[in-house]
């Protein structure tokens, strides 16, 4: 039919004069553009635009405006928006235009929609019907337009509505339609992967399409799919290789040539796919050697586009299983890039080198002079990439020079992203090469005191700090860096870091510095010496001009003075108080810093009643409630020395501080208040949610505060899936209602009554979370001064330059030559990083940690529950089993952790029985690992520690092995975490020493519980180590990687890496609720997804069978089954719940999922589909 349209079209053009119509339409726009260009000032432009916009507003709201005029308005609106003026009143008209206009107007309407509305805009819902209609249109152009808009913006929830139509288009006779349909499906896959699960077969058809354009488009989807799970598509390798061969051989139509190169985009896409498929897979790689060789050969160096292909080719060659001949050719190619006079190619050359030196560090040697030149290049981009390259070739010998260079760069850099990125790299280097004696000392301290794992991160950051310190002292000749710097040097350097880094510094830098000071080492003398230096130095600083000091620095100083100023006996405490008080008077000091200062004053106020009373008197009129409150505290404490002693004991070890995070001391107060009729407390997020819900339901103006309309809305609009939950919904609603009605008044009153006029917790929190006022200008200024001073140091003389470069080269590339004989082993000779990279859940807690002592209100500790689980309860629950070598019982924990511990210990038993009670299978079938068959005898499960044996767990699967060690893992499903138990078996007869396991996973929080370091593993024995994994945000699948290092002979470290995949299903736990609770919860959840699933009809009641199958596969809890409907509940570990409502709908199971977490329903749906498909 579209052919007919086409024919009519080709006959039409001669029939009319096309100029006039188009000219008229754009007249207004032309006028507008012209008048704007004639204007001279921004102000005039604004005025003109104001007029224009109001004229447009009038025009769009007038009923007489024709579609044609509307189209013209829309073009002007696009122009206005491009100039940055808000024309949002036209959005709805854009949709109307797309809906009602003729093809001509539709085109503009759709364009406006795709420009105006981004994904998730609520108006997009109004577009769905239009799109549906146009997709069904016989007019080719209309269908094209609909597909184009669908591939750009489309509401995620509405995908099921258009999906069948888009799928049909895959077999449309016109290639342009097929092509757009493929891209629309690609878009769907990106925003809602589970929705297009079932049409993989059709993707394959698109890949085999006879039109090269359609085939090219399908590669976008394949690249994405293969990136996610390469193993599922290995069988396609042959096809991709064949396609690439044809393309390279020039078999495609000439149309696809670009500057005489056949289909470069297609080639690059294919090369990327191949490199993903061939990675770490020798047999697959072998299939592609020939075509890669051909690509390298065919690409003649004449145009950018061939370089683009070559670059991709080189990357592929180095990614797949190596073949010497190809590597050699690729290396030569890189040479062409690096030596090119064209700067773009040089950049790409550096980038390729950066990639390649990981495999073969000696390649950098060949280009050392070029690299040196690039290091001093005037282009920031080139410089940065060179540093990236240098970062990859560091070894113990050149690390000082490289770090020095990186820091040099940082000095001249004011781009925040770059700074953060590079400082991270510097930290990583410092971690790897603890060459520095102070760093060494820190490490030594760490091992000596066997500090709790969690503190390692603080030391890690501190080594980072040290490196930053080198930067600031870089005028010192490099050689001095290897001397042991003394305490004064350390403190002085830190002063520089704080004053120069200023408020751009990440919060954990000062936090960790303070932690280092506070925790100290084994030797108290040494610690006190360091603290004393700090106190002395800060007093000197404070005596000078303090107005330019960054807030962070002031905070650090006040904390240290508050804590340790009494160490310095020859300084009068009154002097310290005077200095700190002086700071309070400074206008530039933020209120956050004031809180720090006051806390310090509180600590040292003892016996200085007169000074303090003056101070608190003056502050009690402050506008700032937090300050007022602290002043109040200060006054009370200074009057009552006994109370002071009790609240702030002098010299008490700071980690023994007991924090009652449950605020149990307020229990009596709360129950009294409740008895007096106060509403129960709701956490802020719940209040927020309820508020949002109310807003969402607020259909009429002014109905917000009217409970009656509210209740009617919530019943009618939050469609309840079943009668059952409607009834429970009503009952749930009525209670909610009363709470809601109460919450707006009673709670507020309660707050007032509870906390009195000084205000307490709520205000304090807001003050703490208020963003600190940044003072970058100050930081820049002071750094400028500093640098100016440094610059007076002798600089290398110009004539010596060449020699300098040679010298620099020899220092940069030292150590690379020697290792060239074993270059293919890459970096294996580098010592393994000392520290495990860890997510930093402590950022929040550490800030409160340092201030915990500072006030009596220790209740404000912000340890998250995750912390509690990761570092508290799990860690200490039981002594390690006899087979695990090292007991990693932490030296100290927070009181919080202990409290948590008891709590969960008690809970765990009930939880376990709860899981077992609901006829749970003890050994769950593997969901993902099934694909990688492995033969591990299940007798390893016998080695599971007794406390884990009773928990549900998976089969033991093999992770990796070499002649000496073999690793196997088992997943143990605990209620609040997934435990990954790793069995390390010594396969030899001899003892293996220093076995250390490291596990990383980007998407998950990981914590090693025990046994990840074993000093000595006897022959033929097995050690067990545990990791706790927490998933905060659902991901369909996550993969973890890890390494185990060990020594078979002293001094000879071997490393063995392993990896594995986990699915969300491993993190899903049943949520046991009653039907009523379910009903209530259902109404309170906001994110929902609906989808039809396969119904298992094998035997008996199909609904029951299907739900049972899902329950077995996914640890769901089936709440109730009534007739043709069933309700099921689960949660992500102990976090977000997800409710599933299932209804038999003909031969399908209509599933409706709701959760407070936006991504969780999608994930669970995906796994449900999978589980049912496998059934």
């Amino acid at each position: 039919m579209s052919d007919v349209v086409e024919k009519t079209l080709t006959a039409l053009p001669g029939l009319f004069d096309s100029q006039t119509g188009a000219a008229k339409i754009t007249n207004r726009l032309k006028q507008l553009i012209k008048s704007i260009t004639e204007l001279t000032s921004k102000h005039e432009e604004e005025n003109l635009m104001k007029q224009e916009l109001s004229a447009m507003k009038e025009q769009v709201s007038s009923p007489n405006t024709t579609m044609k005029q509307m189209r013209e308005v829309m073009v002007r609106a696009m122009y206005c928006e491009m100039l940055g003026y808000d024309a949002s009143f036209t959005y709805i008209h854009a949709i109307k235009l797309a809906q009602q206009g003729s093809v001509l107007e539709k085109r503009v309407g759709y364009l406006a929609v795709s420009l105006f509305l981004s994904e998730g805009h609520e108006l997009l819902l109004l577009l769905v019907n239009t799109v549906l209609k146009d997709l069904q249109s016989t007019n080719l152009i209309e269908a094209c337009m609909a597909l184009t808009v669908v591939a750009q913006v489309f509401p995620k929830d509405m995908i099921p509505a258009v999906l069948p139509l888009v799928e049909d288009k895959l077999s449309h006779p016109k290639e342009i339609i097929r092509r757009k349909a493929v891209l629309a499906l690609y878009k769907f896959y990106l925003i809602a992967p589970n929705q297009v699960q079932h049409i993989h077969a059709k993707f394959r058809k698109a890949l085999c399409d006879k039109d090269p354009g359609v085939m090219t488009s399908s590669l976008h989807i394949y690249l994405q799919l293969i990136r996610e799970s390469p193993d599922d598509y290995k069988d396609l390798t042959g096809s991709f290789v064949a396609i690439l061969k044809q393309v390279v051989g020039g078999k495609l139509p000439m149309d696809f040539n670009y500057h005489n190169v056949p289909a470069p985009w297609l080639q690059i896409q294919l090369l990327r796919i191949l490199s993903l498929l061939g990675r770490e897979d020798q047999s697959t790689s072998e299939l592609m050697y020939e075509v890669l060789d051909e690509s390298l050969r065919r690409a003649e160096m004449n145009h950018n586009i061939t370089y683009a292909i070559l670059y991709e080719c080189v990357k592929a060659v180095y990614t797949i299983h190596p073949k010497a001949e190809l590597l050699e050719k690729a290396a030569r190619c890189i040479g062409n890039f690096v030596l090119s006079p064209k700067i773009n190619l040089k950049y790409l050359g550096l980038k390729a080198l950066t990639y390649v030196v990981q495999h073969d560090a000696k390649l950098a040697l060949q280009h050392q002079m070029t690299i040196i030149e690039c290091l001093d290049h005037s282009d920031f981009t080139i410089k940065r990439e060179t540093l990236e390259l240098l970062f990859r070739i560091t070894n113990a010998q050149n690390v000082t020079v490289i770090v020095e260079k990186m820091l040099d760069f940082l000095r001249g850099c004011n781009d925040e992203h770059t700074v953060i990125h590079l400082v991270g790299k510097v930290a990583e280097l410092a971690e790897k090469y603890p060459f520095h004696s102070l760093t060494g000392r820190l490490l030594q301290r760490m091992t000596l005191s066997r500090v709790h794992k969690k503190y390692i991160s603080s030391y890690k950051i501190n080594t980072n700090l040290l490196c930053v310190s080198f930067y600031f002292t870089s005028y010192v000749p490099i050689i001095t860096l290897t001397f042991a710097p003394d305490n004064s040097w350390f403190i002085q350097t830190m002063n520089d870091v704080f004053s120069i880094g200023g408020d751009l510094l990440q919060q954990d830098v000062p936090n960790n510095f303070l932690r280092l000071l506070a925790e100290g080492s084994e030797s108290k003398e040494e610690d006190d010496e360091l603290r004393l230096y700090a106190v002395d130095s800060y007093l000197t600083v404070l005596k000078g001009d303090t107005s330019h000091l960054p807030q962070r620095f002031l905070q650090v100083m006040s904390w240290v003075l508050g804590e340790y100023s009494d160490l310095q006996e020859c300084v009068d405490q009154r002097e310290v108080i005077r200095l700190l008080t002086k700071l309070l008077d400074q206008r530039s000091v933020t209120s956050e810093t004031r809180v720090w200062i006051l806390s310090a004053l509180t600590k040292i106020s003892e016996g200085q009643t007169d000074l303090i009373l003056d101070l608190s008197e003056s502050l009690s009129y402050s506008q700032d409630t937090v300050l007022r409150q602290q002043a109040q505290e200060l006054r009370h404490l200074s009057r009552d020395s006994q109370l002071h002693e009790w609240a702030l004991p002098r010299g008490a070890p700071w980690d023994s501080m007991e924090v009652d995070s449950s605020l149990s001391f307020l229990d009596g107060f709360v129950s009294e208040a409740l008895a007096a009729g106060a509403a129960p407390y709701k956490p802020p997020h719940q209040r927020q949610e309820e508020l949002c819900e109310e807003r969402a339901l607020n259909l009429e103006p002014y109905s917000f505060s009217l409970p009656v309309s509210l209740s009617s809305c919530s019943i009618t609009d939050r469609q309840s899936p079943t009668m059952l939950s409607v009834s429970s919904g009503i009952s749930g609603n009525s209670t909610e209602l009363s709470q809601k009605a109460g919450s707006s008044t009673v709670i507020l009153e309660g707050v007032k009554r509870v906390w009195g006029k000084d205000g307490y917790l709520p205000q304090k929190e807001t003050a703490a979370t208020a963003p600190p006022v940044d003072k970058p200008s100050i930081a820049v200024q002071s750094s400028g001064q500093q640098e100016a001073a440094e610059r007076t140091e002798p600089q290398p003389e110009p004539p010596m330059q060449n020699q300098d470069k040679q010298q620099l080269a020899s220092s940069l590339f030292v150590g690379l030559g020697a290792q060239s004989s074993i270059s293919l082993l890459g970096k294996s000779e580098a010592p393994p990083p000392r520290f495990r990279k860890k997510p930093r859940p402590h950022e929040s807690s550490s800030s409160s940690g340092t201030s915990e002592r500072s006030s009596v209100s220790s209740s404000r500790s912000s340890h998250s529950t995750t912390d509690g689980f990761l570092y508290g309860s799990l860690l200490e629950e039981e002594p390690a089993t006899s087979i695990s070598g090292v007991d990693h019982t932490p030296k100290s924990t927070t009181a919080n952790g202990l409290g948590q511990n008891k709590h969960t210990d008690g809970d765990r038993r009930t939880n376990t029985s709860q899981i077992l009670g609901s006829d749970m299978v003890i050994v769950r079938p593997n969901t993902i690992q099934d694909k990688y068959p492995s033969s591990v005898s299940s007798d390893l499960t016998a080695l599971l520690p007794p406390d884990l044996k009773d928990l549900p767990h998976s089969d033991v699967i093999s992770l990796t092995s070499d002649p000496s060690l073999s690793l196997a893992s088992c997943r143990v499903f605990r209620d609040e975490a997934l435990l990954l138990v790793i069995f390390i078996c010594n396969c030899t007869e001899t003892v293996i020493k220093d076995v250390a396991v490291q596990l990383t996973c980007e998407e998950l929080q990981t914590a090693s519980l025990r046994g990840n370091v074993v000093d000595c593993l006897e022959g033929r024995s097995t050690s067990v180590c545990h990791y706790a994994l927490l998933m905060d945000d659902p991901h369909t699948n996550v993969s973890f990687t890890g390494t185990v290092s060990y020594q078979t002979q002293p001094g000879h470290t071997n490393t063995l890496s392993f990896s594995g995949t986990l699915s969300t299903a491993d993190f899903i736990r049943p949520l046991v609720v009653t039907t009523e609770e379910y009903g209530k919860l259902w109404l309170s959840l906001s994110h929902d997804v609906k989808q039809n699933l396969k119904l298992l009809t094998a035997a008996g009641d199909p609904l029951r069978t299907t739900l049972n199958a899902l329950k077995d596969a996914l640890q769901l809890h089936v709440v109730d089954i009534i007739g043709s409907e069933g309700i099921v509940a689960c949660r992500l570990l102990s976090g977000a719940p997800c409710l599933l409502h299932c209804r038999v709908n003909g031969a399908a199971l209509a599933m409706w999922l709701r959760s407070p977490h936006p991504a969780l329903p999608d994930c669970i749906l995906y796994h449900c589909q999978r589980a049912l498909a496998e059934h």
């Binding site: 039409l12 001509l104 981004s118 094209c144 090219t216 690059i268 773009n344 981009t381």
Partner: protein
């Protein structure tokens, strides 16, 4: 590709296409920052720029800057050629294109872009096919202009 911007030597935005959902405020901020950064770069410098966690690929054609944001693993050179191909397409369509063509017919420039790149990925790399698609739509557009114009007049009368 995350977004594409066209702006003039004077820093005036001529075209903007966003392939990732961002708020208007964010878009304005990004545009302002990028225009500033790119215009400040010297002609001899390379066409790539690390910016936030993205890579910016830009190229100047006469008075216009074409600027694309890609992710780190994307190929910078091919992005440069995407820009070039787009310029070629504009050139062919308008017949030796100049900045004024794009200013006054920016919706046409958008139509061409949408036929060439869809959802941030190259849709059709054959110059002939892209222009064919545009011409077809244009043809229909002209025919409809006349038809609809007549009808509209009747309605008004």
């Amino acid at each position: 590709m995350q977004f594409m911007l066209l702006f003039s030597r004077q820093g005036k935005l001529r075209l903007q296409k966003w392939y990732v959902p961002l708020s208007d405020k964010e878009k304005k901020k990004i545009t302002r920052e990028l225009v500033q950064t790119v215009l400040a770069r010297k002609p001899k410098m390379c066409s790539f720029l690390e910016w936030r966690d993205l890579k910016i690929v830009y190229k100047r054609y006469a008075s216009l800057y074409f600027c694309c944001a890609i992710e780190d693993q994307d190929n910078e050179l091919i992005t440069l050629e995407i820009i070039h191909r787009y310029v070629e397409l504009l050139d062919k369509y308008f017949g030796s294109v100049c900045e004024l063509d794009i200013i006054f017919n920016f919706e046409k420039a958008y139509f061409i872009l949408d036929e060439f790149l869809l959802g941030g990925e190259a849709q059709e790399t054959s110059k002939k096919n892209v222009l064919k698609a545009i011409e077809q739509a244009d043809l229909l557009q002209e025919s409809q202009t006349e038809d609809w114009g007549g009808l509209a007049n009747e309605e008004i009368l």
